[in-house]
């Protein structure tokens, strides 16, 4: 396979293969039954349409096109504000949540004597150190993480399809389910899948790969586990893996969870660095290197320190983490919808025809996002989070650009 396609797949699939996506897929499969399969196809098609829109020829072909597109509509500071608000909180909160899950998985599947939180902190340290290496090494590691996670899921799904066990009948009770709002939560699985970080990559690539993997996995899960149990379980992936292959199934799923967590955290850190570089780095050549030295040496350790503090202060043991993570995911989708809308405005201004698929995809994305927000039981907290994140990020952006302007003026005077 072409190395750039492989890399695009690896970068876009980071979040897609995370334990969170597996929980959403498992719970949704339990709630919707086999109806989840066409819905997954619809969501993949929606993100393909959005990706196609962002690859439109009338849009700029630079690495920082996402920022430029929003900047064109709103101006620099609001564009910078929404970009920072979308990527930084999601990276921190997703890292906190996923590392806890990886820690428990390692402790319960592989080494009982190794403390779960110890593993969470160790993995965080390792993934942060990885970010300090040259890009080539990070990309190779990302390819390995995604290949392991996708490979493990496919092995389990295919084993499930070739086996002939009947579904279980017991029903477990569990009070809270991440995917309880509506089928629109499936959007969370594919969020960010069209950000491949590489130009000239077909927009259908990651959504299609995601659809195939989740089609196989949810199909196998539904064949083995009672839908009620899938819907109510907090770890539907492990329940299904155990039913399919017993203890070896748990071990394969353990590898999937740890490599999926690594892929998601690495992918989010890379994506955030890329997005922040687009705002703060002027030279186009520097942007290609996923930011300057400052972003490379400063951003990952900062994210790691915040994540470690959140883990150490017990956020993992608080229901608040779920609300915050959901809010950050909604904010991310809000940013993505806004980006698509801005792209439509740009194309319209340039007097090029707007592709129908792109228009419909943006429309459906907005409708689904509204459904997600309105139907959410924690909507007040979500609104507070979104407005706070946007406000703080805009203040940071305004501060940065005002200092930058002054420095530039001083340099001009000195010259």
């Amino acid at each position: 396979m072409n190395p750039s396609i492989l890399l695009s797949l690896a970068l876009g699939s980071g979040w897609l293969l995370s334990p969170e996506s597996l929980v959403i897929a498992g719970n949704s499969a339990g709630q919707l039954g086999f109806l989840i399969l066409p819905l997954l196809a619809a969501v993949a098609l929606l993100f393909t349409g959005c990706g196609k829109l962002l690859n439109n020829q009338s849009l700029p072909a630079t690495d920082s096109k996402e920022f430029q597109i929003i900047q064109n509509l709103t101006g620099t500071i609001p564009a910078a504000g929404i970009t920072i608000a979308a990527c930084v909180p999601l990276t921190v909160l997703a890292a906190t949540a996923l590392l806890v899950t990886a820690g428990y998985t390692f402790n319960e599947v592989f080494l009982y004597w190794f403390p779960n939180f110890g593993f969470s902190f160790l993995l965080l340290a390792l993934l942060t150190i990885l970010q300090l290496f040259p890009e080539k090494i990070i990309f190779r590691a990302q390819i390995c993480f995604t290949a392991l996670a996708a490979g493990g899921l496919i092995i389990l799904a295919l084993s499930g399809m070739t086996g002939g066990e009947r579904p279980a009948t017991e029903i477990a009770q569990q009070p809270f389910s991440f995917a309880s709002a509506s089928p629109a939560v499936l959007l969370f699985i594919f969020a960010g899948s069209t950000f491949s970080g590489k130009k000239q990559t077909p927009s259908f690539l990651v959504p299609l790969a995601g659809f195939v993997i989740f089609f196989l996995w949810t199909f196998a899960s539904l064949n083995y586990v009672n839908p009620e149990r899938l819907a109510s379980s907090t770890i539907p992936y492990m329940t299904a893996a155990r039913k399919i292959l017993g203890d070896p199934g748990r071990q394969i799923m353990g590898i999937v969870i740890i490599s999926g967590t690594s892929a998601a955290v690495t992918g989010l850190m890379l994506l955030s660095r890329h997005m922040l570089a687009n705002i703060f780095v002027k030279k186009e050549t520097d942007k290609k290197l996923l930011g300057t030295k400052v972003l490379r040496w400063f951003f990952p350790p900062l994210i790691a320190i915040i994540t470690a503090v959140l883990l150490a202060t017990g956020l993992a043991g608080d229901e608040l983490l779920e609300v915050l993570l959901r809010s950050a995911l909604i904010l991310w989708l809000l940013y993505y919808s806004f980006l698509c809308l801005s792209a439509l405005v740009w194309i319209n201004k340039s007097e090029h025809p707007i592709p129908l698929q792109a228009l419909l995809s943006t429309l459906f994305l907005l409708i689904s996002l509204c459904t997600l927000m309105i139907s959410n039981p924690h909507k007040t907290s979500i609104y507070i989070f979104i407005f706070s994140a946007l406000g703080i990020s805009s203040i940071i952006a305004a501060g940065w650009f005002s200092i930058h302007k002054k420095t530039n003026k001083q340099m001009e005077v000195t010259a």
Binding site: E108, P301, A312, G317, L321
Partner: protein, 88 residues
């Protein structure tokens, strides 16, 4: 190189320090197993959030409870009952 070593040490320091927790009276699994059938023993699963939802294992017969409601819990159980709280 010095910069790299300094940053690596900083990252490791911040990410591994919280692992060292304070000491608390504990009961090992064999002691617990031996007393599992006793009516004078109540096992309380005080894990919450992701600590509970990410875990595959739950002790049979354990009751979910919030660690913050310890005062209320002591009122809910008899004085001669031993309360075993587990959080990991």
């Amino acid at each position: 190189m010095k910069k790299i070593l300094f940053l690596l040490s900083l990252v490791l320091l911040f990410t591994t320090l919280p692992v060292f927790a304070g000491e608390a009276p504990t009961m090992n699994k064999d002691e617990l197993k031996a007393q599992m059938t006793s009516e004078k023993l109540a096992i309380l699963d005080v894990r919450s959030g992701r600590d509970w939802s990410s875990s595959e294992f739950k002790i049979k017969g354990a009751v979910r409870a919030a660690a913050s409601d310890l005062a209320k819990l002591s009122a809910d159980y008899k004085k001669d009952q031993k309360l075993v709280l587990y959080c990991a």
